[in-house]
């Protein structure tokens, strides 16, 4: 019974961790500087 309880708790913690990782992911930092510039002229030749 004790072993089963520990297994359930372990699975629960692992599931919670996986859910957090899945939702949180990586990235999210906006570019600190710069921006988008359309390609034109020599960049397309």
């Amino acid at each position: 019974m004790k072993l089963l309880r520990r297994a359930v708790i372990a699975i629960g913690i692992a599931g919670f961790g996986a859910a957090v990782l899945r939702l949180r992911g990586v990235g999210g930092t906006p570019p600190a500087d710069g921006g988008w510039r359309e390609l034109s002229g020599p960049e397309l030749s």
Binding site: W36, R37, L44
Partner: protein, 329 residues
């Protein structure tokens, strides 16, 4: 030049109009199973060169057949078009279908025709941008593609399927399959789209890009969605998608060794997905019709067409690529 457009949805209808704007086009036949939709599109086109496709049009007639219908029967239609002596342009972004279309390589070579696979917004424009970015590098190590936005309701359904299927990435010489809808990463797209959560999804970009870069170590492709987790999409039900789709964007990040050190080049494009996809497909179809295909066989748009002329033509039509300048986060 005679062309057939299969499918008259958000992309197919625009595509037919784009083709008719070229004076070299003598006929565009529209093949659409929905009679009412087909009639609407032909009426809107209001051009005597546009007509209803004959039932057996694939057997004879067209120089180029463009497959713009939802994924499902692109392979069968491509085989029929090849048998009829036409080049093929497919906009399918379904992984299994893209793989099967690429397998038509030998058949296309025997027929001395070209099958352009994934000639849309993504894949399509994404592959062109990746090759264009790679021109600035001596060695390409990584390519990361992201896309946000749908071309219409059918495209939205396809994206939902992709988010719930296995993603296929390239890593250190091996194909890596991982569950779609996971691995959130916020990607920054051209303005005004900005930052969007992107997830792994069943996207065919890696299959089309790896043959172009034999030494590349990593190729990934992600789909952006405004829902925090795509699994929630199933819980909240289907979103209502406008017929033409909302504004979308693609982003291609290429990393590698440049002449002045290790570089990361980020190219992107913001437009309605239906507009950009139809522009890429129309340019590809016209290029093939003009005999500008680099060789016979099946392959991606960046593999079988000269990239720069296609990008120039797209820019002239209003689909303009952009480069991110600054610190890449």
């Amino acid at each position: 030049m005679r062309l057939t457009v299969v499918g008259a949805g958000a992309v197919g209808a625009r595509l037919a109009r784009s083709l008719l704007s070229d004076p070299a086009v003598t006929a565009v036949a529209v093949d659409e199973i929905d009679d009412r939709r087909r009639a609407e599109v032909l009426e809107a086109l209001a051009d005597e060169r546009a007509s209803v496709a004959a039932e057996d049009h694939e057997a004879h007639g067209a120089d180029v057949v463009v497959l713009a219908q939802p994924a499902g029967d692109h392979v069968e239609r491509a085989q029929a078009a090849l048998a009829g002596g036409a080049h093929v342009v497919s906009l399918s972004d379904d992984v299994a279908e893209v793989r099967a279309l690429l397998a038509l390589h030998q058949a296309a070579r025997v027929a001395q025709r070209t099958v352009l696979v994934g000639a849309g917004f993504s894949p399509g424009l994404t592959c062109l941008l990746a090759v264009h970015a790679a021109r600035h590098l001596e060695r390409v190590d990584e390519i990361h593609v992201a896309r946000v936005g749908v071309a219409g309701p059918a495209c939205d359904r396809q994206q939902q399927r992709a988010l719930h299927a296995l993603s296929i990435d390239w890593r250190d010489g091996l194909w890596l399959e991982r569950p779609g809808g996971a691995g959130r990463e916020q990607c920054w797209f051209p303005d005004p789209i900005g930052g969007v959560d992107c997830f792994r999804a069943a996207r065919p970009e890696a299959m089309l890009l790896v043959p172009l870069f034999p030494d590349v170590q990593r190729v990934t492709a992600r789909l952006g969605t405004n829902l925090r987790n795509p699994l929630l999409a199933r819980l909240v039900g289907r979103r209502r998608v406008p017929a033409d789709g909302p504004p979308g964007a693609v982003r291609v990040e290429v990393r590698g060794q440049g002449p002045d050190g290790y570089e990361t080049i980020v190219l992107g494009c913001m437009d309605r997905a239906s507009v950009a996809a139809s522009a890429v497909a129309a340019t590809a179809a016209l290029s093939l019709g003009e005999g500008a295909g680099l060789r016979h066989g099946a392959g991606g748009v960046a593999e079988l067409l000269e990239v720069l002329p296609v990008l120039q033509r797209l820019a002239e039509g209003g689909v303009r690529a952009a480069r991110f300048e600054g610190s890449v986060p």
